[in-house]
Symmetry: C2
Subunit: 298 residues, 2 copies
């Protein structure tokens, strides 16, 4: 099998396994509010590349973590990502009708259901992590909760979304845009990678290396996403293009031009790969996904 085949297979296998775990966690026996669970499943099980869970699984594998802890943690991280998409799509936020070609949760159900489904997906993510089924060591479970909460809360993803919303119509410099993208996008990739190290009860250095990888990957990922909004077609991007500029969102592409942004993304990719030096060959797939992200073959 070529490296490329191996990579595609690993990404596909991860998506299938994580979706099975999420389906299980999102299908309680005899639920009292079945419509809410239906909306949660609609939000969380509607496809996507499952990149963040892939990173959880890959980083857990570096420490020989067994399947159940890795998959439950990957599912929790993806539930947080899914909740954020549901709320970001709401009319009061980005006002999107489609997500991955399907009606968004508030279009398929209604706004109240979408708000509650997002809320309850967030709650479930922390419930899953705190459950002894995720890891026998309470120290690990509490550390997973703390790390995911920091990454997704006001100092991370939610704070980044707040800055993004207030970016429209204001002047931004490159430093501020990078701060915003560190919070909005990179923090979740960083915690995905870090979670494997937490599950593996890794050393501080090992954990810091995976965090650094995730931050750099996340920043490169966001820039290539912004590049696709400018240069791509809707089919390739999987969503409407040209929308960021129309909404006046702050991106490095706006500030540095297409070539400038490509160079910055390449630098973050280089830094990401370099962060994993201490893992040697074992981190090959993580390096491979990083190389692909700049030209978006991933």
């Amino acid at each position: 099998m070529t490296a490329q085949d191996q990579f595609s297979a690993a990404l596909g296998d991860a998506a299938v396994a994580v979706e099975a775990t999420m389906t299980d966690l999102l299908t309680p026996p005899d639920p009292a509010a079945p419509l809410l669970w239906q909306a949660m499943r609609y939000a969380a099980l509607s496809g996507g590349k499952r990149l963040r869970p892939f990173f959880v699984l890959q980083s857990a594998q570096l420490f020989g973590v067994s399947d159940q802890p890795a998959l439950r943690t990957a599912a929790a991280v993806e539930m947080i990502h899914a909740y954020s998409l549901v709320h970001d799509d709401l009319p009061a936020m980005d006002d999107d009708d489609l997500r991955r070609g399907q009606p968004t949760v508030h279009r398929h159900f209604d706004e109240a259901t979408a708000i509650l489904a997002g809320d309850a997906l967030q709650t479930l993510a922390f419930e899953v992590l705190a459950d002894p089924a995720t890891h026998p060591a309470a120290e690990v479970r509490a550390a997973l909760v703390a790390a995911l909460a920091r990454a997704s809360g006001a100092a991370g993803m939610a704070g980044g979304q707040m800055l993004d919303l207030s970016a429209a119509g204001t002047d931004w410099d490159a430093v501020s845009v990078q701060q915003l993208q560190s919070m909005k996008t990179a923090a979740m990739f960083a915690v995905a990678c870090e979670s494997g190290a937490i599950l593996g009860q890794a050393s501080d250095d090992q954990r810091a290396a995976l965090r650094a990888f995730g931050v750099n990957f996340g920043l490169a990922f966001q820039i290539t996403d912004d590049l696709m909004d400018v240069t791509g077609d809707a089919g390739e991007a999987g969503k409407a293009v040209g929308k960021d500029a129309a909404q006046g969102k702050a991106t490095l592409v706006e500030l540095q031009g297409v070539e400038g942004a490509r160079e910055i993304a390449a630098r973050f990719c280089h830094n990401a790969v370099e962060s994993l030096d201490l893992y040697g060959d074992k981190a090959d797939l993580l390096c491979e996904i990083t190389r692909r992200i700049t030209d978006r073959r991933a």
Copy 2:
């Protein structure tokens, strides 16, 4: 000091102490998204009786838990309550302009900010509980997260709100209404009381007794709230009255009439007090608040 003075002083002291802890947790140094934190503070620090935190502190006191763990846990429980009010008030949900006489978060800021502030308050609650500053034993921290997530998620508070929204215009029986209120209201009172037992590393029986107290108190509390909507004036209720009936919400008052509902509330109060038998005199203040709740002098 009379029992009544002692009770009022304890409730007031708890509110002051919990608000100081929340203010501290909601005022990070040099935040990257200051407007989001401002909205979170507006949502969480706008008054209220702080009943749920009072229950955390009172139940923690039964086991001699020290101040910092009890106050941080109380603050986390109140942050979840605060987030739920912010989202419940949104136009797509209950569409309320006022909360405790002040403009609701989405009226004072805007809808997007209100959604994100609610989201980030929820996240912060779990971050606070998972933090070693809340308790040295990771087993306790993980158990607090698990219990609060169960109580507030799709099988608890959020699921109850979903049922409440879908109740309008449908026929409900008393059993279904009680199920809804167990989830929407009683689950959070139950976890507030249970949290003290978790912090105190209490026996299963001690923990179950506090849970049972919280469930029964919560059900009585909800019925008296519904009674006030029918019989009270806006000043006494602290909010617009007659709104539940106008919205076709499912309440026991609608189903059983005012006298019938009063009797059921009295029975829950009786059960609540009885649940605490094993604590003897030490639970006097918890019993006192229960006696007051039926005539809403609390």
